[in-house]
């Protein structure tokens, strides 16, 4: 049943993706409205799928790659819907939703079997740590999309090419402000994610920090975002530099999320387990 719900979700997200793309190409307002409604419906199905999986498996569905990617996409769509509801950003959907769609597709290629939870992961800290981290990742993914939009728009204005792309993207300052907003939400979440992870590590392995690759790379990611956060507050770094930094930060984040699990081995990767 949860697999079926998942598949329906993927299909609905696909329809919504098409809607957002149609909107950005034709600028038809109704396309965007329909896409948002469809997306909300998809989000409902996705929520049901995650809950069903939790119920069937008896443990939070945050353990293997399929789960993590699916939850990440869920958090992205959720953040996006919240974001669009609070402060509407033109054309954002056409960047974020295809991205979420790719993550869902990647997730659907992973094994969807629910395996019994390894004893070491049986802890209340599993959902706390994983959910916080994945939400931080989702918010940074949003920031990444906004940074890409900023760089695109910045380039148009700098090069004085005021054509189709220029018309479709929001103003620079709006994009920059939204980037900052994502950072002020994402950075505390990331910090909290690392702190909860550390507490859990102490309970499970007996030490707060053991320099396994996941931990190390999380710290590197944290430092990059910390630098960006600091520079913004003190020197007033903004615009292009801030956007580039956001993209670099996200690239490192992706490596921490995927690369470390798939390429490097350590205490965090129970074979192909966690993340």
């Amino acid at each position: 049943m949860h697999k079926f719900l998942f598949q329906i979700t993927v299909f609905i997200y696909f329809v919504s993706t098409v809607g957002f793309l149609v909107h950005i190409i034709t600028l038809r307002k109704d396309a965007e409205r329909i896409a948002t409604v469809v997306l909300s419906v998809g989000f409902g199905f996705h929520t049901a799928a995650v809950l069903m999986r939790w119920f069937v498996g008896g443990h939070p569905p945050l353990v293997n790659l399929h789960d993590s990617l699916s939850f990440l996409a869920w958090a992205m769509v959720g953040s996006f819907l919240l974001f669009q509801w609070r402060c509407k950003l033109k054309s954002l959907g056409a960047f974020v939703i295809p991205f979420a769609m790719i993550i869902m597709t990647a997730s659907s290629f992973q094994s969807k079997e629910i395996l019994p939870l390894p004893p070491v992961l049986k802890s209340i800290w599993l959902p706390i740590h994983a959910i916080i981290c994945l939400f931080a990742d989702a918010v940074f993914a949003l920031a990444f999309c906004i940074a890409i939009m900023y760089l695109l728009q910045e380039r148009q204005i700098k090069k004085k090419r005021l054509g189709a792309v220029f018309q479709r993207l929001p103003s620079l300052e709006t994009l920059d402000a939204m980037n900052e907003r994502c950072l002020t939400v994402g950075f505390p979440l990331l910090t909290l994610g690392i702190v909860t992870g550390s507490i859990w590590a102490e309970k499970a392995w007996g030490s707060y920090w053991s320099w396994d690759p996941k931990e190390t790379w999380s710290l590197i990611t944290w430092f990059i975002y910390a630098a960006l956060f600091h520079q913004r507050l003190t020197v007033g770094w903004r615009g292009r530099k801030a956007a580039i930094m956001t993209i670099i930060g996200f690239a490192v984040l992706v490596f921490t999320f995927l690369g470390v699990s798939l390429l490097l081995s350590g205490a965090h990767s129970y074979a192909t387990w966690l993340k």
Binding site: S171, L172, G236, R238, K241
Partner: protein
């Protein structure tokens, strides 16, 4: 009985910026005459209804007439007599539209598709004024009232549903539109004018209208700066202070007559740190340029000179043209709808005749039985009257509904013919044919002269 024959025709005669030079347009506006031009046209015997539009780019007379053959002659005669011009000039410049094409032309004018700058908004207001004058003078009736109201709603729809007016086509407005793409909202942004030229002043006014907050004017002669800053509600500084004042400025419009560059890349680079790298937008409309073009290379600084802005405008004009073809399709759909309404006017006389005939039959039959009826008391007589009336009405109800509906369809003529022969409406066939002939002639768009394409 005058049936259908007098079905009104819409005719439009006029000149615009493409067909006639300004001297001709001036004369045709008949502004020198003591009597208002509208009144002169309304007094023509061939004019049923008339609206007279005169703007700096066009002079047009829109009439609803029953005498298609006379209308052109009487209007041109009036123009020639009152405007004191020779016939050849007028005939060369004049365009004339009938029926469908007149409606189409009016809709295009109202929607600013026929304007010199496509999408400019003034024409709709001017047309509304023209219509108001006509309705105050009671020269607009059933047909033109409806036509003009339709034109206004078409124009409004085109304005909201296409992006025909959404691209700036003047330098100062284009500059402000660009500023909005950089800063989003201009509220709380600070403007700066370097040099107090006319164009800079215009752009500054656009900035203030866009919500910009403070305005600083820097000029070589401080008195002029003070004067301008007062009228715009800002403060004045000398040219030497520009470097420091840049720290607080967001949008800088430069238009001095200086022979060389007055703001170098280094000067701008230096102020970026104190301004905490906030975005800075320079608009250099001076020739020769005031600001070093390399300023555009600094991060978070954007510099547009007059040629860049002209490029933007050229692009925007092309965009408007593209939107215009979308608008033309919308106009076409509305023209068809309006023609359907015009044609439905034809059924009115048929229905009238049908009702009159039925009433005549009823009266005749009552008269025939008057002896019986007179023997009844008042109440019974009244009931008799009501009864017969309602029988007639009930019987006619469905056919009338059918005719009304049929008038909107393609085969309306067939339906009208059928109705006439079914109910044996005398003499109608002949008049009907005449009327149909008039109508179909008009529908063939007897455009005598079309304006040359732009």
């Amino acid at each position: 009985m005058p049936l259908g024959l007098n079905s009104p025709q819409i005719v439009l005669l006029g000149v615009n910026h493409n067909t006639a030079p300004v001297e001709v347009r001036e004369r045709l506006s008949l502004s020198g005459s003591n009597t208002p031009a509208l009144r002169l046209f309304a007094e023509l015997p061939s004019c049923e209804e008339v609206v007279f539009l005169s703007t700096c780019n066009r002079v047009e007379v829109l009439v609803s007439t029953n005498r298609l053959d006379e209308i052109r002659e009487s209007i041109t005669k009036l123009w020639l007599d009152r405007g004191k011009m020779d016939s050849n000039t007028l005939q060369g410049a004049l365009y004339e539209y009938h029926g469908t094409s007149a409606i189409r032309h009016l809709f295009r004018v109202a929607s600013s598709l026929d304007s010199m700058v496509v999408g400019e908004p003034q024409i709709l207001g001017q047309l509304k004024d023209a219509y108001r004058m006509a309705s105050e003078a009671k020269t607009a009736g059933l047909v033109l009232n409806r036509l003009l109201h339709k034109a206004f709603s078409v124009a409004k729809r085109i304005r909201t549903e296409t992006r025909i007016a959404s691209h700036a086509v003047s330098i100062s407005y284009a500059a402000v539109e660009l500023a909005k793409k950089i800063f989003g909202d201009l509220t709380g942004k600070n403007g700066m004018l370097i040099g107090a030229g006319e164009m800079a002043e215009l752009a500054a006014q656009h900035l203030i209208a866009g919500g910009a907050d403070k305005l600083v004017v820097a000029n070589r002669t401080l008195s002029r700066a003070v004067e301008l800053s007062r009228s715009l509600g800002g403060s004045a500084i000398s040219l030497e202070e520009v470097g420091d004042a840049l720290v607080d400025a967001d949008i800088v419009i430069s238009s001095t007559g200086a022979p060389g560059i007055i703001l170098s890349k280094d000067q701008v680079k230096r102020i970026m740190r104190p301004r905490r790298h906030r975005l800075l937008f320079f608009i250099d409309i001076a020739v020769p340029r005031d600001i070093d073009p390399k300023v555009n290379d600094i991060d978070n600084v954007y510099l547009y000179d007059i040629d860049d802005l002209k490029g933007v405008i050229e692009f925007n004009k092309a965009e408007r043209e593209k939107e215009a073809s979308k608008a033309d399709r919308m106009v076409e759909a509305e023209v068809i709808k309006f023609m359907a309404w015009m044609e439905s006017l034809n059924v009115v006389p048929v229905i009238q005749h049908l009702q009159e005939k039925a009433e005549a039959v009823r009266q005749k039959e009552i008269l025939r039985s008057h002896k019986v009826i007179e023997s009844l008391n008042d109440e019974q007589q009244k009931a008799m009257d009501v009864l017969t009336r309602s029988i007639v009405q009930k019987i006619l109800h469905d056919p009338i509904v059918y005719i009304k509906k049929g008038a909107q369809k393609k085969n309306s003529e067939m339906i009208l013919d059928a109705a006439c022969s079914l109910f044996g409406i005398d003499g109608l066939e002949d008049t009907q044919k005449l009327q149909d002939k008039c109508l179909s002639d008009a529908n063939q768009d007897k455009t005598i002269r079309k304006p040359s394409p732009n």
